[in-house]
């Protein structure tokens, strides 16, 4: 038996257009907390999903407790003692806590000739594991009555109930308060002392340095290295994660923010749990970063400004004129563009050509006699953008779904540039895009700001915000909690504002 409980070697996983894992590896010792680090898109979650059987790897091997195994799916993983708490929880809120813990593997008993669920045993067992995670709740209560952090504990209880030997925690603290984080750390410590191997994925340096025993860093789907956590510094980790000094990861910006052109006052959603009393100003030629934790309602605020969500109060003033925005068309007609967060769900028109995707928001400009579209004009627009933004595509007739993420994003940017917007809202513009293309997107953003366009950039990558924004607006739980100047911004002062819960 080797010193490792679980080893993943040379894991390769390819998705259409992107190599998500390129000979990645991970070695877990029993009774340790192993931090897995890397930028968004580095392949951490993909690697964990391969371990947990959600994805099937194209190449590579998994050795578990000295044996080479092939994990067929989540239930198989759970039966072997590998459990995962996902970044985005998948609760069944209308069912009880006990049922959520045992879903898919209910304890059963015989009732004459038929097999039925043994509710008595299920709730007794559930009560026992809930105690282990210090959650004093009736296992018969509906899961939906719990808070997010409590639901997360239920997920951990599920792992405990499976008597897990490996527990994967994917960004478990992203929506927790400081006190909840402490409670979580206590449980993690207890599990470790019981010999459980814990994979801990997080972006928060202080947490990593505090809780972990070993650190593995990934970049662009590749294994960079594994280090003992003692003696590691934040700078060292970041350098390894991004692969070069932070300073030359972003283009030089030559934009000069001018006077305030776009003002939002007291903007409030009709949903009381969403954005409220949001006020900010955006200057001409400024890149305004927007930071916040998951659930900070950044996307919702921007979609509200764009007319995709309803607001109950608030004003938008653009160049001294109050705008009435009730639907996207109103925003577009007033020179506002929105690059949405989820490219696949609300961005690309997958089965349509690049030409159609570029021209769809600006068709009114290519009419002959008010009726017929001028295909020549559209083709010229597409060719101009393909050249200007260096979109890699065989032709303008190619379906957008066959392009890589970075090129799809450039097509969507072209779509909005065709309308020559003055305010360009970009929601996670580099999500799911490989590093080379990211740099190109940054260059485009910098060039637009230099032309005098005002940019709002939501990002969950702290480095991106610090590297690109003139100012950073921080949100927490639906409120704007403060602004940080780009030059003074750092991990700490942004996080302080982002965790300012009421």
């Amino acid at each position: 038996m080797s010193e490792y409980r679980l080893e993943m070697r040379d894991v390769v996983k390819t998705f259409p257009g992107v190599k998500a894992l390129d000979h990645a590896q991970l070695k877990l010792r029993p009774g340790t907390v192993h931090a897995l680090m890397g930028e968004n898109g580095a392949g951490k979650s993909t690697l964990m999903k391969c371990m947990f059987g959600i994805y099937h790897m194209d190449e590579g091997s998994v050795t578990y407790e000295g044996e080479q195994v092939s994990i067929s799916g989540p239930l198989d993983a759970l039966n072997r003692g590998i459990a995962m708490v996902h970044q985005e929880l998948q609760p069944i809120p209308e069912r009880s806590i006990g049922e959520n813990i045992y879903v898919g593997r209910y304890p059963t008993k015989r009732l004459g000739p038929i097999t039925v669920v043994d509710h008595e045993k299920m709730y007794a067992d559930a009560a026992r594991v809930l105690e282990e995670v210090h959650l004093n709740y009736d296992p018969k209560a509906k899961l939906g009555t719990l808070s997010v952090s409590q639901m997360q504990l239920v997920e951990i209880a599920k792992a405990v109930s499976a008597d897990c030997k490996v527990l994967i925690l994917d960004e478990p603290t992203s929506s927790l308060t400081a006190a909840e984080v402490e409670a979580l750390f206590t449980i993690v410590g207890e599990l470790r002392s019981r010999g459980v191997s814990i994979v801990y994925i997080s972006h928060k340096m202080d947490e990593i340095l505090r809780i972990s025993d070993e650190v593995t860093i990934m970049r662009d789907g590749q294994y960079i290295g594994t280090w003992d956590a003692k003696g590691l510094t934040t700078d060292f980790i970041i350098t390894k994660m991004v692969g070069r000094e932070l300073t030359n990861l972003y283009p030089k910006r030559e934009n000069v923010p001018g006077e305030a052109v776009f003002e939002v006052e007291d903007f409030t959603s009709i949903n009381p749990k969403s954005f409220r009393h949001a006020s900010f100003q955006l200057r001409k030629g400024e890149i305004l970063g927007v930071a916040g934790l998951v659930g900070a309602q950044r996307t919702e605020l921007m979609e509200g400004l764009f007319g995709l969500r309803c607001h109950s109060a608030g004003r938008i003033v653009y160049k001294g004129k109050e705008l009435r925005i009730n639907q996207p068309k109103d925003a577009i007609n007033n020179g506002i563009a929105l690059l949405t967060e989820d490219r696949r769900a609300t961005g690309i028109l997958g089965v349509l050509s690049i030409a159609d995707n570029v021209s769809i928001a600006s068709l009114n400009q290519y009419l002959i006699g008010g009726v017929m579209l001028d295909d020549g004009k559209i083709e010229k627009l597409v060719q101009d953008n393909v050249a200007k933004l260096s979109i890699k595509t065989p032709s303008s007739k190619t379906l957008i779904q066959s392009l890589s993420g970075g090129n799809q994003q450039k097509v969507l940017i072209s779509r909005w540039l065709a309308n020559d917007p003055d305010v360009f809202i970009m929601d996670e513009p580099t999500r799911g895009i490989d590093v080379g293309a990211k740099y190109e997107i940054y260059c485009i953003i910098a060039a637009l700001a230099k032309q005098g366009k005002s940019i709002i950039m939501i990002s969950s990558e702290m480095g991106e915000l610090i590297g690109m924004a003139d100012r950073i607006m921080v949100m927490c739980d639906g409120r704007v909690t403060g602004f940080v100047d780009g030059k003074d911004a750092n991990q700490e002062n942004i996080m302080a504002l982002a965790t300012q819960f009421e």
Partner: protein, 330 residues
């Protein structure tokens, strides 16, 4: 996975399986029976195809936007009955509306197109504004239209049409090109232009491809959907008018099941059940294949009951193959 540029016979066959099957069937029929490859039979084929192609064009917009229109057939029936009521001969003894003045056929045509357009617009409003799923909304409308048709016609079949009305369906240019085909060609050209050269067409494909994304891009989804169902209604009006003239009579049973034939033809012609995809040329091929299949089986002396089974199989296989193409891309 590299896609080879060279001709892939296997892929070609599986992508066009139904069409190839019917072509083969037509050749066999032609070789084993008399009169199959005669001009009269082709003319018959064209006459049968024309109204069905017009209906299929109408319903195609609904399908491309991931909807459907189950009220198509009953609207065709109602349009045929309304046309009949307006265009019975003045000297016909059993006129449904004795007070009806003598109006030209084209005026009656415009009236039924407007009437069906209103029904289509109601479908569009219910689907896009009340958010009722298209299947349910048009199922309800199908039943309503059928009931309305029974009330209006008093459940009586109608005949005794004016010569000018019958001529629309039975006449032809130089005895070669049926007038019906001219209607179909005009509709085909109109739809080709609409789908390929106008904003409406682009918006329709965008909504079918990704409705949320289309909305973000500023497409007025509600208005586009209403226009699509309205236009579909207008096409059913035209088709119903022609079907009545072609049959020389109309009753509440006219147009029964036409919506399913039209949806089937669209699907065979490559209008994807997943939305965003569909060409007018494909729809024409779909209608051709479906009608050719019927004529072949008729020539081969197959019992009509079995013909229905063959048609049903063709519909299911066509959709299965279409979805398989989609699944293969995942």
């Amino acid at each position: 996975m590299e896609k080879s540029k060279s001709f892939d016979l296997k892929k070609f066959v599986s992508d066009n399986a139904i069409i190839l099957l019917v072509v083969a069937l037509a050749i066999i029929t032609g070789l084993t029976t008399k009169n199959f490859f005669k001009p009269a039979n082709f003319k018959n084929l064209v006459i049968n195809m024309s109204p069905r192609f017009i209906i299929a064009c109408g319903v195609s917009g609904c399908l491309i936007t991931k909807g459907t229109d189950l009220s198509a057939g009953r609207q065709v029936g109602l349009a045929a009955c309304l046309s009949a009521m307006m265009l019975q001969s003045l000297d016909y003894s059993a006129r449904m509306l004795p007070w009806m003045p003598d109006i030209p056929w084209w005026l009656a045509l415009i009236i039924v197109m407007i009437a069906m357009g209103i029904i289509g617009a109601v479908n569009g409003v219910v689907i896009s504004m009340l958010k009722v799923p298209p299947f349910i909304a048009t199922l309800g409308m199908q039943t309503i239209v059928y009931g309305a048709c029974q009330i209006i016609t008093n459940n009586q079949p109608m005949g005794g049409f004016k010569e000018s009305y019958l001529k629309v369906a039975l006449g032809s240019v130089l005895n070669v090109l049926p007038y019906l085909a001219i209607f179909a060609v005009v509709v085909g050209v109109y739809f080709w232009f609409l789908y390929n050269k106008t904003r409406h067409g682009k918006y329709m494909y965008a909504i079918g491809g990704n409705e949320s994304a289309a909305q973000v891009a500023g497409v007025n989804v509600t208005a586009t959907i209403i226009r699509i169902y309205l236009l579909a209604g207008v096409m059913y009006g035209l088709a119903g008018f022609l079907v009545g003239a072609k049959a020389g009579g109309a009753s509440t049973a006219t147009g029964f099941g036409y919506e399913l034939e039209a949806i089937a033809a669209c699907t065979i012609g490559g209008v994807s059940a997943n939305g965003g995809v569909g060409r007018v040329g494909g729809i024409l091929i779909g209608v051709l294949v479906f009608e050719a299949l019927k004529i072949c089986l008729q020539f081969l002396g197959v019992d009509p009951a079995y013909t229905y089974i063959a048609q049903g199989l063709v519909i299911i296989i066509a959709v299965a193959l279409d979805l398989r193409k989609y699944l293969a891309k995942k």
